[in-house]
Subunit: 228 residues, 2 copies
């Protein structure tokens, strides 16, 4: 339908989630002066099978060479491109609380192909200030940015209670993606915008499960030893 050339089968989410890990590993190898690597060695270093690695890459093209392996820099570039790192997505940040501020000050959006252009909040004490060179505007000025520029992504770091209202407003202005730090399940359809969640609490709770398991099994082992 879309085009005779674009026969690309949908790539599974599992594969997509591994791409950033490959990128990280390849950067590490590059920094260590390694310039070629086989799927076997890459697998060993990352705890994956060589089969899986070759399968993953083959979703996007043929990046290796038989008998040789993969060129580290070349492969790194391919993966970066697949992830959209050369697209210079424009980003705004909504909600300059602690997390919002930490993201502005610390997170290197540029490194990943994103470009933070402005921040928004309602609190008079932050509106009008600059944080690491990013101007904080009053939220009422939000609509104006869409007159002059396209905004690809919004970092959402507002209080829980207004999360959905803010998300809705952003999507209606045409924002295509929301990086959601609010720990609220946003009521946005996939056709409207891509929502990517950073759910701190989900992560901590899963950790709590595995921690419980570990402590229980250690306690059981200790009890068994004591009995002997």
């Amino acid at each position: 339908m879309v085009g005779y050339l674009v026969k690309q089968a949908k790539v599974s989410n599992n594969v997509i989630r591994r791409l950033p890990r490959y990128l990280r590993k390849l950067d590490e190898l590059k920094a260590a002066g390694v310039d070629r690597i086989s799927s076997g060695e890459l697998g060993r270093q990352m705890g994956l099978t060589s089969s899986q690695i070759r399968q993953d890459f083959s979703c996007f093209g043929e990046f290796g060479q038989q008998g040789y392996g993969y060129n580290v820099t070349g492969l790194r570039g391919e993966i970066a491109s697949i992830l959209g790192m050369n697209r210079d997505f424009s980003v705004i940040l909504v909600g300059v609380g602690n997390i919002g501020r930490a993201m502005i000050e610390n997170f290197c959006f540029e490194q990943y192909g994103f470009h933070l252009v402005a921040a928004y909040d309602v609190r008079p004490e932050v509106v009008g200030t600059d944080i690491s060179g990013i101007r904080v505007h009053d939220i009422s000025e939000l609509p104006r940015i869409f007159d002059t520029s396209r905004v690809d992504l919004a970092v959402l770091s507002v209080p829980k209670l207004i999360a959905n209202k803010a998300a809705r407003e952003l999507v209606e202005h045409g924002v295509k993606g929301i990086w959601n730090f609010t720990n609220v399940e946003l009521d946005i359809a996939e056709s409207e915008a891509i929502v990517e969640n950073i759910h701190f609490s989900d992560s901590l709770l899963a950790l709590g499960y595995y921690l419980s398991e570990k402590l229980d099994s250690e306690a059981a082992a200790a009890a068994k030893n004591a009995r002997q």
Copy 2:
């Protein structure tokens, strides 16, 4: 081996990662005054099949009642308990930069069954201060806490370069889990400690992939319209 009663098969990671979402939804239902729900209705609200929901719960016990469904409060309690929310895990935080500070100030550890007891850093300007009631100690005092208390979890929010060194030290002191905010793959075996990663960049890059896909398909659709 471990015991004739403990025949619990290993629960898949996928299931574990859904538990916090169930918890969140159940809290929401509770707040809305709902006191019973069927797997069918829960599935509809969460975008899962009723089969999957029943399968998930059945990994841990029988929490429902035929012909009735699940008691919201009861089920919530079961899941909370599975996730270790009643265990009052003790937590220290290492690295009081922006993210560390944001976690101390904003993240409600108590709500999830964790108890933050102290923070550590090396920078003289933060050592000795209190942040939201949490004292920041010099890192050299770290060993002392293990003399008097057990520490279950460490939040690791130090600079990338010292991430592995710090993690190693924590594990050697007996910390059982590391909540890793450093965006570095830690070199800690699962038998040593549970490592749970918050990789902001991995999340953003995956978002970048889906965003690229969305923009491309919208552009293709627009081009097609223009041609017609």
